[in-house]
Structures are given as C-alpha cells and as structure tokens.
Amino acid sequence: MKAGVLIHLPWLAALALMTAPAAAATIEVTIDKLVFSPATVEAKVGDTVEWVNKDVVAHTATVKGGWEVMIPPKKSASLTLKAAGAIDYFCRFHPNMRGHMNVAP
C-alpha cells in the first residue's frame, strides 16, 4: 500500500505540472466608471478572474448568498473559480453594477 502511494506520487506531481498551467486561465474584467467589462465572462472551474478597478471608489464583486471579492480603488483583486454554474454578481456598494459568469465544469 505504502509503496504504491510512493510510486504514484511522482506521477501525480508530473501530471499536475503538465496539465494545471495549461488548463487554467486568468480572465481580466475591467471596472471603469461603474461598468464591469466584459459584462459576461465565459470561464471554467480552476480559472482565475481578475477584476481591475480603474475607479476612485472601492467596489465589490458579490454573489448573493455566496462569495465576495473586495476591489479597492485603483487596485486589482482576483478569485479562482471553484464551482461550475451560471453566476450573477453585483457590487454591494453600488448595486446598479452587475456582471455575469458562465463557469463550465
């Protein structure tokens, strides 16, 4: 048993090294004048979304009953997507700002 695990570990590590960087993408969403752009993002589980805030006020990317990312003024913040699904998010400080993501498994 123990020997088996030891034998498999390098293989798993090699596999992770080969597949992970190639598969996961970083998707940039710009926030300018209270607009998420692009408004809709197509992504897959494991991808990272990076919000770049060009405004002088702080924003959030908030999913009702789910995650929240705080994006300070003139800064960026990111989130790695862990679950598949269609996600509507908004800014908690300015609920007139809305974005959408389609996360494939």
Partner: protein, 174 residues
C-alpha cells in the same frame, strides 16, 4: 416628518432650479462645481452623524461607505477644478441644500436607536434621489466643460448606486 423633509428639499431644489430653467440662467461651471461638491460634503456630514449615533451594524457600514465614496469623489472634483483653474462659486442652490441639511441634522440629533436609523436611511434615499434628479436634469446638461461633465456623469452613476444601496438597507430595517 420624512414626507415634510422630502417636500421641503423638493421645494428647495425647485425654487433654486426654477430660475435655471431659462437658458440665460443656466448654472455656470463654477456654480455647478460648487453645488456638486457641497452635496457631497453634506452627505459626509450626515454619515459622520450616523457613525457616531447608530448602533446598527448595517447602518454604520452604509454610513462609512458614504463617507469613503463622497470623499473620494470630492477629492477628484477638487483636483479637476484646480487643473481647470475654476474657482467654485457659492450660489443659491448650494445655500438652500446646506440649509435643508442643517435642519435635517438637527431633527436627527433628537432621535436615537431604531428611530434614528430609520430616519437617517430614509433621508439618504430621498437625498440621493433629489440630488441625482438635479444632476440628471439640470447640472449635467448645463455643464460646459467636457471633463466636468464626465466627472458629474460618473458621480451620478455612483450616487445612483448609493440610492439603491440605501433602499436595500431601508428594506432591511423594516
């Protein structure tokens, strides 16, 4: 009480806005800058009163958001008028807004607890609604400098967000 204040502010804005309805009396850029900046300062003062008075987590968080956002926008406004070498000019609308806000602050100072929270948030909804209306129909159309107009347009989007945020908090207090 709330209705009376809204009516008073509406009257104030109407009275001061009415002369501007004629093209010859449109507010000038220095006046517009002063009105927009004053409106921000007044909401920061309201926020400070709420942070000091309220014990409600949501209300205090909202007030801190208002303080932070309006300070950021007003800083940008100051930077712009400096760059444009525009000197903000006091005017009847700024004075009427200030007077109405002073009255509201005095009224709120007499309240505590849930009564304060409700009155503050309801006034925030009404105040943002009134100022946004003035921005949309009067100040933005009258602004002649493109950069000032653009700043007011972004400000309007931020303040429309505040109006929705305030409505959300008001709904939670019910």
């Amino acid at each position: 009480m709330f209705t009376r204040y809204t009516a008073a502010l509406a009257a104030v804005l109407f009275v001061s806005a009415a002369p501007f309805a004629q093209a010859a009396d449109k507010p000038t850029d220095p006046q517009i800058a002063h009105i927009a900046y004053t409106a921000g300062v007044l909401d920061i003062e309201a926020a400070k009163q709420a942070i000091k008075t309220s014990k409600n987590k949501e209300v205090v968080a909202f007030a801190k958001d208002m303080e932070r956002d309006h300070e950021a926008v007003n800083k940008q406004a100051l930077d712009l008028v400096k760059k444009l070498k525009v000197k903000p000019e006091d005017n009847a609308t700024s004075q009427a807004l200030t007077k109405a806000a002073e009255e509201e602050r005095a009224k709120l100072a007499k309240l505590k607890g849930a009564a304060f929270d409700k009155a503050y948030i309801e006034n925030e909804v009404a105040y943002h609604k009134q100022v946004n209306g003035a921005l949309e129909t009067l100040l933005i159309p009258a602004a002649s400098n493109a950069e000032l107009k653009s700043l007011l347009e972004t400000g309007l989007k931020i303040f429309q967000g505040h109006e929705q945020h305030a409505e959300h908090v008001a709904g939670m207090l019910k």
